[in-house]
Amino acid sequence: MNLNIVGKDILRVDGLSKVTGKALYPQDLYIDDMIYGKTLRSDKSHAYIEVDIKEAEKIKGIIKIFTYKDVPINHYGVVFKDHEVFCREKVRQIGDPIAFVVGENERVCKEALKKIKVYYEEIEGVFNPIDAMREDSPKIHGDTNIVYHYKLKKGNIEEGYSNSYVVVENTYKTHMVDHAFLQPEAGLAFVDKENILTVMVATQYPHYDREEVAAALNLSQEEVKIINTNVGGAFGGREDISLQIHLALAAYTLKKPVKAIYSREESFIAHSKRHPLIMKYKTGADKNGYLQIMEAEIIGDTGAYASWATNVLRKSGVHATGPYFIPNVKVDSYAVYTNNLFAGAMRGFGATQVPVAHEQQMDILAEKLGIDPISIRMKNIFKKGSVSATGQIMLESVPIDRCIEEVVKNIGFSMSVGRG
């Protein structure tokens, strides 16, 4: 078979513009009459607020300061509409947007940010998802902090334990991670000649952005256009709205092009993070090292907003067994609100964290059974025809054995070392 693409080196279509510095990212856009915007963000984790913009408005060069009062529909979010365009009564995390200052240049905007008075009435916060799950914990939204509970059950748990010769039980924790894409958020919005509100931004989802911008401004989608510029890295961190609605609102209200650029610091507190997980695992195997049972409770800290928490924690639950056949499985995974920075999509989407737990469990089981860590894996990995805990039958190629064999060869793994 003659293939045009597969197996050949293909030059990137955008390679030339990127090596010459001509590729445009939102911060590189300049148009006539452009004005600037800067966001005022909360420096408290959980507080009722009152905002006074009077002083700031008087500064020469300030055109308008937007708050929740200026937003037709103040809610948005990729799954649940739990984000506010600007916080109305309460801030739920450090970095929550409170106001958007628009002025003739960045300098006056910065000055105005200092002059906005925010009266914070701090309330008790919750920063550990296990505490947040308790009934008497402070609530971030509504009357429970549990956003999502995924349940997976297969086989017979008691039978799994009675068939096990060794059972190991441990708790694993992973931490929050930032995508740290190299291009901080930036954008430019304007109303074009055909009266279409246009937002130029580096985004992962121009179509979702369009929906959310239109909804927040109470416009039809036909009245809104999103132009995706070059995107300076994303890794999941540009799936949620950042400055799109702020810019659109300002450009639409003022009928002027408005540009904003986040500093690295603002970028860090403005976008999502990888969910930190607490993973309680109980895994059992028989004398020969064949897995019999796995029980896992996975608690994901989604911070102040849900973002993709449901999808992420579902994925953690689905992948909780790792690539191993286990006849008896019980998984409960939860996404929980806290007052930490919100978590959302990041490469792997919840599947990245669970190997920290399931692979450690395998090593510890191997040690207890006096088997080397490679053999215990080879005995239990998915093969063609295996059935996963969710009932998926592996029909196609499942070359995990070949992969492990290659790794063993290349790292010079010695079974005697493995036995430790």
Partner: protein, 158 residues
């Protein structure tokens, strides 16, 4: 306002600048040379790297007035008569680019390295780009591209 004179990409400029702007602001906002990127504003990421009087610098850590009298080369000044510099060519061919935001700074660091040390080892290339962060491509392709560029430069006698 302060008047400064400097050369950027071979062109002489006399500019009136605000005292508190940085070299990166001068390049981007005044001269609209937006190939030089700002990633962190504190010298950690290297996206703003330019060559100043023969050495690589973070243009976010140089005040514009300090550049008075200096000679600056940015990514826009690498092409000669519409012909790509061998480093640019090699970056495209090796696929050493993804999002592209680190690319201009990375290329300027490679240029500064090769100007000083035409035949670096892989380890020396890694050291040469150690002030530049890349979050997508990873560094192997960039090191490969640098090696290819060394070959091109030798062949072309640039």
């Amino acid at each position: 306002m302060k008047e400064i004179k400097l050369k950027v990409n071979g062109i002489d400029y006399i500019l009136n600048i605000d005292e508190d702007i940085r070299l990166i602001d001068l390049l981007r906002d005044k001269l609209r040379l937006t190939g030089t990127k700002e990633g962190c504003g504190e010298g950690e990421c290297g996206a703003c790297t330019v060559i100043m009087d023969g050495v690589s610098v973070n243009s976010c850590l140089v005040m514009a007035f300090q550049a008075d009298g200096s000679n600056i080369l940015t990514i826009e000044g690498l092409e000669e008569e519409g012909k790509l510099h061998p480093i640019q060519k090699a970056f495209i061919e090796e696929g050493a680019i993804q999002c592209g935001y680190c690319t201009p700074g990375m290329i300027m660091s490679v240029k500064a390295l090769l100007d000083k040390q035409p035949y670096p080892s892989r380890e020396e290339i890694r050291k040469g780009i150690s002030g530049n962060l890349c979050r997508c491509t990873g560094y192997n392709k960039i090191v490969d591209a640098t090696e290819m560029a060394i070959k091109y430069i030798k062949e072309e006698g640039v």
